[in-house]
Symmetry: C2
Subunit: 351 residues, 2 copies
């Protein structure tokens, strides 16, 4: 059976946008690790499709699992050789973690951030939370700084379980930092930390399904948002950010994974961002690493995992790209109220 035919079958049976190249990515990951979380990590494929793909590869006898290990069978091994599919070759810079940014000039900011973040609220499934490592947050702020999007700028953070607002304000570089979050625990934590540290952060409770408050529209130079990854939800949240920007030359930062968004969805998202007046100046893969959240065994993908093992805190596997979009003309976005479930689609894995 060809990979194209197998991808067709999986696509038909599951409704997932899996491709032959995705199966190749899974087979490349299988040659690099037998651990389910490393395989999911190394295969940049929607996690639901990775699970579905592993089941399909097992059905044709290329993959098997036992004792918690996922392995290529001799037939699978032979197929990889015949199809010239090599093992994943990681070549991430060990110093910057593949992010390209140097953190040592932010040493004191990082120290203060680590101290403050100790008391942070745990990730909650109710709000689709799951926060990035503290290093990822610092790297994100460093990246914004190096791009000229932080110093002297007005920054809006849409959803802040990553505590970007705190790290950004600790640099003392931005002119203004405003946070909107639906979760009162986050709002209170950020407000309390800002008060204790003397940081100019304005944290407000707000549900992003509601229109962006009028007084925040067109008032910011930079926004950050790590949206939910259904197409409708992602565009809704990104649209709030764009509505908050002053105009051309202003910038949005967005997180986007390969684990809950197929490249077909990536393309739909990019088309919308361009149509809204933006250009993609940076797309940095695997920029963010997430801390494993406490509800992993309650997430949607759990049932389809071939090996059901809760990963440890020291086994990160969920990563996302950092996308920087700069407006080249006034943002063309609406600011409507969204109703219904904007969080789920067939690629949703962690909700």
């Amino acid at each position: 059976m060809t990979l194209a035919a197998l991808a067709d079958r999986v696509r038909r049976e599951s409704g997932l946008a899996i491709t032959a190249r995705d199966l190749e990515r899974i087979l490349a990951a299988l040659q690099a690790s037998e651990d389910i979380w490393r395989i999911v990590d190394l295969a940049p494929v929607p996690m639901m499709a990775t699970c579905q793909g592993l089941h399909a590869l097992a059905e044709i006898g290329w993959v098997t699992w036992a004792n918690g290990r996922v392995r290529l069978t001799p037939a699978g091994d032979q197929a990889c050789r015949k199809l010239a599919i090599a093992a994943v070759r990681e070549l991430k810079c060990p110093r910057c973690g593949g992010r390209g940014v140097e953190l040592s000039p932010l040493r004191e900011v990082a120290a203060a951030f680590h101290r403050i973040a100790r008391g942070r609220p745990e990730a909650s499934q109710e709000f689709d939370q799951g926060y990035v490592t503290e290093d990822s947050t610092i790297a994100r702020v460093a990246f914004m700084w190096a791009k000229g999007d932080l110093a002297g700028k007005d920054l809006l953070v849409l959803g802040d379980d990553d505590l970007v607002s705190i790290a950004a304000a600790l640099t003392r570089a931005p002119r203004r930092v405003v946070v909107l979050d639906i979760d009162p625990r986050i709002v209170n934590f950020v407000a309390e930390a800002a008060r204790a540290e003397g940081l100019a952060v304005d944290a407000r409770q707000h549900d992003l399904r509601e229109p962006l408050p009028e007084e925040l529209c067109g008032r910011f130079d930079t926004f950050f948002c790590d949206p939910t990854e259904s197409l409708r939800g992602f565009l809704a949240f990104a649209g709030r950010g764009l509505a908050a920007l002053r105009g051309p030359g202003c910038v949005g930062y967005l997180g986007l994974t390969r684990y809950e968004a197929s490249l077909a969805k990536w393309r739909d998202i990019q088309r919308e961002l361009l149509a809204a007046g933006g250009v993609l100046t940076d797309v940095v893969d695997d920029f963010h690493t997430y801390v494993n959240w406490p509800y992993i065994d309650a997430m949607r993908a759990w049932d389809r995992l071939p090996v059901k093992r809760v990963p440890g805190r020291d086994e990160p596997w969920y990563r996302s790209a950092l996308i920087r979009v700069e407006l080249v003309e006034a943002a063309r976005v609406e600011n409507p109220r969204y109703t219904g479930d904007i969080f789920n689609d067939e690629e949703a894995a962690t909700t």
Copy 2:
């Protein structure tokens, strides 16, 4: 005068797509260096616009130059403070140069490549050449390898003064490497090096304004091209690459600068790449550093430079992003013959 009004004036007088944010980028660079080449390097703005912008800033008394140094005047300094424009803050990882890739596993490939590249042809203005540092070529190959686009794949290199084909073949990872270049010196050099080193590289002379040869259409998994940066020329060359790809899951790599392409042009390019069936999976800024070419004082931007000094070999200033585009559907491109000058537009600086 506001930056927006000044940008308007420059845009009207020069026809260049300069923006207020571009002027801000120039002012941020001016605070970080008084050297013309560092200023051009640090301001991600079309070089023609940087030159034009410096002249305009001089007219309003914010910038001055003397003895080969370009400086903010006290009035310019004050304006930056008032507008909260801070100095450029470079935070590039010193290990990977901001590229995110670790090169030490390619140590032997790099050593062989450095040895071979010693005899390379010098960059020629006739063919719009200007090659990247050897480290940049190695990093590019490492990046392709880590993305799964090299091992076992058929690679097409369109224009190869960077000698990507040699570095790629030295890894012994690709199945097939084909090079097309208009310059017989490059074709001969690559063919000769391949013969001497026993590398499977097929180098052919070809003018990319001519249609891609039929027998190469739809036959490759990966292409690399560092196109000329006029909009028409960039899309023409990128289209040849896309025409060479087998289909969904196949990948193109393109270089693109900020020095000869405004973000408005970037956006036009991205729209076309998406419309052609692709998605942008990676956009890594400043991935490539170029070796200063011998015809710098004969290039188009020279006349507009406020300070006319030829930079040394150890003063790199011209950089480009690496863009990875993956097909999510069959490529929708034509393969026509192009006539007329496809190399120049108003942003062209180095031709």
